[in-house]
């Protein structure tokens, strides 16, 4: 019995588990560990029109049950991603979700237009929420009207469905979600990192050269769950959930909250085998909990019995 297959706009997934953008590069490193075709999908590192070096180092700092990063969207640029990374990935039977970033609307549009035509790119993830770049990002991710406008433009340019990645650093996440849904988003991915900082006990200065960074890992899971719970009730497009997922139990919790698939970020750094491990454990856990299929978990935290795909006795 396949308890894990899921269909989402543009995506036919063997299972709903994928590495989160920026936590898996373009897959090459992790292909040393296991067959990438095991994965539901791969969210590749953000791509911008031009190559970017990103921020100075140190770029990571550990915090309690989490980590801060300020990579700054380092990537080889659109041309190399199209010419090198995506063709390399096409040897695997796994849909790619391409994370699209930029500073100006036209950058986003240019990347979206080109990258969405790559044969193995089945969807875009519009990154309007990177906390580590000084220009562009912030307004796109925090002002509903601006986010909506950008979504519309990218949607027009894209040959595949567009998922918009929401920032948790906002007063009203529901408002942002509705705005991008209005803008034509086919789905949402959430959450990106919370802005945080750590200071060095000896020098008093920030550990990250960029000073602030994005907080990820188990520490932020309760915030992610809350936001997905709120947003999934307010929109009618699916959500790919992320933020601190480490285990099959966590995956179920995200589905209960309202996610229809999930991505695993920081946990890859701790255990490079975390994604295949979860994919293996999930059916066992589902069975133990009495579910025939993972979709039965979706939205269980707020759905009335009648709305549920399946009722347990």
């Amino acid at each position: 019995m396949n308890r894990l297959n899921i269909e989402l706009p543009g995506l036919k997934l063997k299972n709903p588990i994928m590495p989160a953008s920026g936590c898996f590069g373009f897959g090459r490193e992790y292909s040393q560990f296991y067959d990438l075709s095991t994965l539901g999908a791969i969210m590749i590192k953000a791509t911008t029109v031009e190559p970017r070096f990103g921020n100075p180092t140190p770029r990571v700092a550990e915090t309690t049950a989490g980590m801060l990063n300020a990579i700054g969207l380092q990537n080889p640029g659109l041309e190399k991603v199209l010419g090198g990374e995506l063709p390399w990935l096409s040897q695997y039977d796994v849909p790619i979700i391409a994370n699209v970033a930029g500073s100006l609307e036209e950058d986003y549009v240019a990347v979206a237009k080109a990258i969405s035509k790559a044969p193995n790119v089945h969807a875009l993830e519009l990154n309007i929420s990177c906390p580590n770049v000084k220009t562009g990002g912030i307004a796109f991710g925090t002002i509903p009207e601006v986010a909506k406008q950008l979504t519309r433009k990218v949607k027009e340019a894209s040959a595949v469905p567009v998922y918009v990645k929401l920032s948790p650093n906002v007063t009203n996440i529901v408002e942002m979600a509705k705005a991008v849904e209005d803008g034509g988003a086919d789905g949402l991915t959430m959450i990106n990192t919370l802005v945080g900082m750590r200071l060095d006990l000896k020098t008093g200065k920030p550990i990250l050269a960029n000073r602030t960074g994005g907080l990820s890992g188990p520490a932020i899971k309760p915030v992610a769950i809350r936001m997905i719970y709120e947003v999934s009730q307010a929109v009618s497009i699916p959500i790919i959930g992320m933020g601190g997922i480490e285990s099959a139990e966590d995956v179920i919790e995200f589905f209960y909250a309202g996610a229809s698939a999930v991505a695993v970020g920081t946990a890859n750094f701790v255990d490079p085998f975390v994604c295949p491990s979860i994919i293996e454990e999930l059916p066992v856990l589902l069975k133990k909990l009495g579910f025939e299929h993972i979709s039965e978990c979706q939205g269980r935290s707020w759905k009335e019995l009648g709305q549920l795909a399946y009722h347990r006795a």
Binding site: G22, E29, F53, A65, F269
Partner: protein, 255 residues
């Protein structure tokens, strides 16, 4: 191939003030290709969250064991220091490249320069060079007498100078003070960045291999640990310390 393995601890002992020598049984030694590679250790289920990079200071493929030497520093290494014989440790490795042993050949002289916890990866290198018939001279810098370790071990391979910053043992001062009067064909060095920078400046005309440290995330590919290629200082070319390094040829990257 990089392995993730639960390794049994064979022994752990404090060999100098807050300096520990830890030996584990691990199949992954069979994957080691060069001295100077490192491993990524998970010291706890949850706190600290991230792994800790520690160099392989020596290994033996026959007995499938390798040894690390580390300084008890913050949370991670303090937890590591509590472990004892028989316990298991989650280790990812071997990671990175190592020191290119073939860059000096029989009859030539290699200068190995280590500062503090930069000393450990040089030990396996010293052993392998010596086995190859290379003459090794070793300069080891420490803060103070109580922090000195492995002097005897290095002495068995060749001339060994120890310098301490406070002069409490060996000569007073920095390794670079000692290095000036020595003759050699190649330098291999590992230690704090200021030391590496000084060596790079003084010996830029020599063949020098530097082992760098950078804060790491994954140890394989998250872009946490990059440095700029020296030939493109304002551009986008980069090297990853965890996989392209930690060892670089002088002038290869900006440090």
């Amino acid at each position: 191939m990089i392995q993730k393995e639960l390794c049994k601890i064979i022994s752990q002992r404090e060999i100098a003030a807050d300096i520990y020598e830890l030996t584990v049984k691990a199949k992954l030694v069979n994957e080691i290709t060069e001295p100077g590679q490192f491993v990524h250790i998970r010291v706890s289920k949850r706190d600290p969250l991230l792994r800790r990079p520690i160099s392989i200071s020596s290994y033996d493929k026959k007995s499938e064991q390798f040894t690390m030497i580390y300084r008890k520093e913050g949370k991670g290494t303090s937890l590591l220091a509590e472990l004892t014989e028989g316990m298991e440790l989650d280790i990812l490795g071997p990671l990175g490249n190592g020191f290119p042993v073939d860059e000096v050949t029989k009859g030539e002289t290699a200068l190995l320069v280590g500062g503090g916890i930069g000393v450990p990866p040089l030990y396996e290198l010293s052993n392998q060079l010596t086995a190859n018939g290379v003459k090794v001279i070793q300069v080891l810098g420490f803060q103070t007498e109580s922090a000195v370790f492995y002097e005897q071990e290095f002495l068995q391979n060749g001339e060994t100078f120890v310098a301490t910053v406070d002069g409490s043992y060996g000569s007073k001062g920095y390794v670079t003070d000692v290095m000036k009067d020595l003759h050699f064909d190649c330098i291999y060095t590992c230690g704090p960045t200021p030391m590496l920078r000084a060596i790079e400046q003084i010996f830029s005309d020599k063949k020098v291999f530097l082992s760098l440290e950078e804060r790491m995330g994954c140890g394989v590919g998250c872009f946490a640990c990059v440095c700029k290629s020296a030939d493109d200082p304002t551009g986008v070319s980069y090297k990853k310390v965890c996989s392209d390094g930690p060892v670089f040829r002088v002038g290869e990257v900006l440090i």
